[in-house]
């Protein structure tokens, strides 16, 4: 019985064995050669893995944005200010349906973040008419007293570039608009030395886009 070499099994697994050789190898496998069947199965596993690997990579912009979510050891903006990443504590997209409710139309997406005692409530929405995306938020000093933090500077950033900025009103509320949702971050100047960052990766806006 003629056996085949590793190189030939690799070619067969990648579908590049010449037709005559391919037929002969398949016939050989059908004849019940266990050793060659194992060899072929091994390389077929590798070929399948390599093919599947291209699908298993997450979107590059999402990877970039998650890498940027790390509180950097080097301040992004000048002045050596402390950066703190806010942590997501509530996402309306994951809120359970109420008992007996068959379905609801989601309007925007509500996200609640926390950075130490500070709570940031945000709503992401899109406006079909203007084609712009809006971000409405409220910054609360602590959960207990529920007091809005007024006159805070709020920056909308992409990387190190500032796209828009505003200030919170007397209730700690702010509103920002922009025409693209790619790789955005919100930075809140919560004290003279500290900023709180919130990464707003593109997929967070999906329910807003689907309205």
């Amino acid at each position: 019985m003629q056996h085949y070499g590793l190189e030939e099994w690799i070619d067969l697994s990648r579908g590049v064995a010449a037709e005559g050789l391919r037929n002969a190898m398949q016939e050989h496998l059908r004849s019940g050669c266990d050793e060659c069947a194992r060899e072929y199965a091994t390389w077929a596993t590798m070929a399948e893995f390599a093919t599947a690997e291209s699908r298993l990579s997450p979107p590059a912009d999402l990877i970039r944005s998650l890498k940027a979510a790390f509180p950097s050891d080097e301040p992004v903006r000048s002045g050596g200010r402390i950066r703190e990443m806010a942590q997501l504590v509530f996402d309306s997209m994951y809120a359970p349906q109420m008992a007996g409710v068959r379905g609801t139309q989601m309007t925007g997406r509500q996200l609640l973040y926390r950075a130490g005692p500070i709570v940031i409530d945000m709503r992401l929405e899109s406006d079909d008419d203007s084609g712009r995306y809006s971000l409405t938020g409220q910054v609360i000093g602590s959960e207990k007293d529920a007091q809005g933090m007024s006159d805070l500077h709020v920056h909308l950033l992409r990387g190190q570039s500032e796209l828009a900025n505003t200030q919170t009103n007397s209730f700690g509320e702010f509103y920002l608009e922009y025409d693209s949702v790619r790789d955005l971050q919100v930075a809140l100047e919560v004290s003279p030395v500290k900023d709180v960052y919130i990464p707003l990766e593109g997929t967070l806006w999906r329910p807003a886009l689907e309205e």
Binding site: E53, F70, D73
Partner: protein, 202 residues
């Protein structure tokens, strides 16, 4: 042996994972080193993303789960007691998020869901456990390929990842390897790769 670069377009690259251990990476992250965080993401991105995809979610849904898991990891870094078991932890957390999301999609959410211990296996359905086992094996293979010497990775890239596929003889010619020779590359690279593949199928 003179190496030449592949003439074929590469749609997927052979896995190249960081060489530092999870313990080192977690420790560096806790010191505020952003490179270590980037390395952790690179190391586990395909592992995490593969779980929701295998669970039947779309790429967009998988991206949501992936983001959730990564941000969860970022916030939990300080409390990870066993960095050596990080891959397992990530798989369990991802699987639990998928199960919960599936339940939500089916308009049925257990009131206990919020209190689910994300690292417990008992509450996962058999389907999720199978997915975890498969993803674990794939990660072992990724790590095995990544640990090959660079010349070997180039060979593996050309043999298995380049598109369109190229016959072994052409790859060998372009790398200057005699077909059928039991040389360094064939012995060291494909032998090591084969061992990893057999382990991944065990």
């Amino acid at each position: 042996v003179a190496l030449t670069l592949s003439k074929h377009p590469r749609e997927t690259s052979v896995p190249t994972l960081p060489r530092r251990s999870d313990e080192e990476l977690v420790c560096e992250c806790l010191k505020g080193k952003s490179e270590a965080w980037s390395e952790l993401i690179d190391k586990y991105k395909n592992l995490i993303f593969s779980v929701p995809l295998k669970y039947g979610f779309s790429r967009e849904e998988a991206a949501d789960v992936f983001q959730d898991v990564c941000l969860g990891l970022l916030s939990e870094l300080k409390s990870i007691r066993e960095p050596r078991a990080l891959a397992k932890w990530l798989l369990m957390v991802t699987a639990h998020k998928c199960v919960r999301r599936r339940k939500r999609d089916q308009r049925f959410v257990s009131l206990d869901a919020e209190t689910t211990e994300f690292t417990a296996t008992e509450s996962l359905p058999p389907e999720a456990l199978e997915i975890i086992a498969q993803a674990e094996k794939e990660q072992l293979l990724r790590e095995a390929i990544s640990s090959l010497p660079s010349r070997c990775r180039q060979l593996v890239q050309m043999l298995f990842f380049d598109e369109p596929p190229i016959p072994y003889r052409e790859v060998a010619d372009s790398l200057g390897i005699a077909t059928g020779s039991i040389g360094f590359i064939r012995q060291r690279c494909l032998g090591r790769l084969k061992k990893a593949l057999i382990n991944s199928r065990a």
